[in-house]
Amino acid sequence: MTALIECRNLVKTYSMGDMTIRALDGVSLAIEAGEYVAIMGSSGSGKSTLMNLLGALDRPTSGLLRVAGEDLGTLGPEAVARFRNRTIGFVFQQFNLLPRTSAAENVALPLVYGGVAHAERRERALARLEQLGLGERTDHHPSQLSGGQQQRVAIARALVNDPQILLADEPTGALDSKTSEDIMAIFDQLNREGITIILVTHEQEVADHARRQIVFRDGRVLEDRT
């Protein structure tokens, strides 16, 4: 059985003027379905770059990257959009909710691009909000919600299309410690239910929730411990 995520000698370079920066410098690793992984490292270590590659927001310069059976190095634009829509759920540090748009509509957004009919979209969005304890706040706008509530809306949005992988980039970075614990408890629960979770963080307390920690430095894997 092949791993859910497989990187082999993965390289990503950026050119900044005359300089070429090797953000990822030959990374090889495998992540199985159902794993709970924290990717750590200082800024510039390449952890965010890996995250962008895993979510098909960016393309590898060389090397192999296979996620859920798709070779992300060769995927065409239509297939990339489909992949982001179906396979991946993103959670961001800054929530990235659409302003002046209700929680339910925010959650339903991926379904709009997935071609799901209007009535079903609302139904599925409401079910996810209910699951995340926001059943009473479905018609609130982001500005009427607390930071923790906004991040829960964002998690509901990431989950609404039943993705195989949840990618969370510093999901607690904008939250106080109490709220952070609440959000991490949600991730723990989701992983117990079977979803693969990969979170990027520089906070050890957050990383401790994961069962595997991969530490990056200078574009390489420094440490991979379980």
Binding site: A81, N96, L98, P110, Y113
Partner: protein, 412 residues
Amino acid sequence: MNLLASIRVALTALRINALRSSLAMLGVIIGVASVIVLVSISEGTKQAVEAQIASFGANLLIVRPGASIFGGRRGAGGTGTPVTDADAEAIRDQVSGIDGVSGEVNAMGLSVVFGGVNWSTRITGVNPSFFGIRDWTIEEGRAFSVEEEQSARRLAVVGQTIIDEVFDGASPVGQSLRIGGQQFEVIGTVAAKGETSFGSDQDDIVFAPLSTVRQRFGASETPTVRDPVQTIYVAVGDGENTDRIIADIQDLLRIRRDIQPGADDDFSVASLAEFIRARNETESQLGLLLAVGAGIVLLVGGIGIMNIMLVSVTERTREIGLRLAVGARASDIRNQFLIESIVLCVTGGLVGLVVGVGGTIAYANVGELEISVNPGIVAVAIGASAFVGVFFGLYPAHRAARLNPIEALRFE
């Protein structure tokens, strides 16, 4: 993402920035409204001109002695050796493709008296075919016959103003009317034509047989020429070549009037319709110029739309990044902004349509003109504004669609 959902998203985005959206629309509103007003007025003027031509008698040629009466080349129209009954008959018999010929003589300033009413009007002597040629409809009674004309009977056909002023609105047919001190029998009336564009009342007129007017009132009499008339009217047959007929009449009259080769005509043959059209050409060119100006306003409005769309794309960079991250294709993003631009422009176009139609009606009321708004203008207004929306929305939409999702998500 389907079209309906896109339109809903676009409407939401526009509602959120209602003030900015309406200001951006203003250029389109003014542009569309002014196009509608100017096109409608220009069309209305054209229709008025055609109606005027029709009221004079379409396809009418006017033959007069002296130099051209139209075009202002010479001021001596109607002077010189008169044309005659015999000329009219020769045209009728020898020129092909004509529907009718009638001479006309006028006796001005005569009084008509009926009962206690005394009214000064124009007495016009004509051949019976005149009514058809000049498009005068017999409303009541009848016109005089060829025999009655030739035997100089004292018969009269009166216009609407005469009925109103002299007969107090009652039917004059069968009444005896004193014209210039002589008894005439009124045998018919003609339907009203209203004022000419020069402001004279066409219905203030009494028609009588041509020979009667010549004999009784001495109209157009000269000692040297037999049976003169002031004007000969010629109706060109449907589908006939007006220029050819004018040339034929000129050739015929040059022979009859013994004009040497090389010498100028001492008469004119002119088409009234062409004269009126020429006179209005300047006006319609002005209308065209104004319509071009309105088009430029629409163009400037479009640039305003492009500006606001570019601002919107920049403001919503993170939103675009997020949409891409959750599975939007570049084409979804492009369509979203394109539809927003079209919705903005078409909404402006619809408001402009209402303003334009209202303005046209107001103008028509103030100017007492018959202007109808062409239903096709609705399609033109919406079509033009949608075109502006697409044309000026394309670039901002293209920019939005080309954004890199990572940079867009990081955008502050």
